[in-house]
């Protein structure tokens, strides 16, 4: 299955306003693919969580917002990257309710539940990359 990227946009995440910008860009992409309102809301909410993590824990980063397509379907793929401290224990970070700060510990695990595909790479000391995809 060849995956094609139909549209791609990179957005910096370094302020609280940037998180809003990310949400808006993700919404636009989802709308452009004809996502229903629930699917739009799910991917937008996931993007908000991951953008905030990149800002709060990763010290800022970027997101690549992509509209992708293979032979049978299309979707929105988001790749968040930061050069922060990384996550020492990914399984722990993905546990509902775990937070090292004063959050609810729902952002990472929630974003995973809100997506069809979820990948995370992290190396302590060099940063974190989270990629999610939601199909139409």
């Amino acid at each position: 299955m060849a995956m094609r990227v139909l549209n791609s946009e990179s957005i910096p995440i370094s302020t609280a306003e940037d998180i809003v910008r990310v949400r808006q860009a993700v919404r636009r992409s989802a709308v452009s693919l004809g996502f229903g309102i629930v699917d739009q809301t799910k991917i937008v909410t996931a993007s908000s969580e991951l953008a905030r993590n990149a800002l709060d824990y990763g010290g800022g980063g970027t997101v690549q917002v992509e509209v992708v397509q293979n032979e049978t379907r299309s979707g929105v793929r988001l790749v968040f990257e930061d050069q922060g401290p990384g996550i020492p224990d990914i399984a722990l970070a993905l546990t509902d309710g775990y937070t090292s700060g004063n959050g609810m510990g729902l952002g990472l695990s929630g974003a995973k539940r809100l997506s069809h595909e979820f990948d995370i790479w992290s190396k302590p000391g060099s940063g974190t990359r989270v990629s999610i995809l939601r199909w139409k």
Binding site: V20, T41, K42, V44, M104, S109
Partner: protein, 130 residues
């Protein structure tokens, strides 16, 4: 500085969130509401989120914080108008907004707020004015 307006209606405060709030704006609203409750001796707070297209863990946490803070100041909070898509997503995210009263719209929210204030009043420590 950018702020979300708080409308005073008798002993109630009404907030209509109409913009896609960034985190600082949400925190400012939380602070403004707290001081307004004290200043205007409000008994109830109605937060209309029908225009919000998304509620994430941050906004969810803010709503919870407002409700608990208001309760400490002897005011009740009702959140109204959450869109179905927002509610479905919030549940999937894992948030149940426990301890927050909700209603379908402002009108029903007003009714809920009044009964909530009545219940709180019956809860023993009635204020000396009554």
């Amino acid at each position: 500085m950018e702020r979300i307006p708080i409308l005073k209606m008798g002993e109630y405060l009404l907030v209509t969130i109409q913009v896609d709030m960034h985190d600082r704006l949400a925190l400012t609203l939380q602070e403004d509401l707290t001081s307004q409750i004290v200043k205007s001796r409000a008994r109830g707070v109605l937060i209309d989120i029908s225009a919000l297209e998304m509620v994430d863990s941050f906004i969810g946490r803010m709503l919870g914080a407002i409700a608990s803070m208001a309760r400490l100041l002897d005011a009740q909070t009702v959140v109204v108008g959450m869109q179905p898509s927002v509610a479905i997503t919030l549940v999937e995210l894992g948030m149940s907004l426990q301890g927050i009263r909700t209603a379908l719209d402002v009108e029903k929210g007003m009714v809920a707020l009044m009964s909530s204030i009545r219940e709180a009043g019956e809860d023993g420590d009635a204020s000396p004015e009554f």
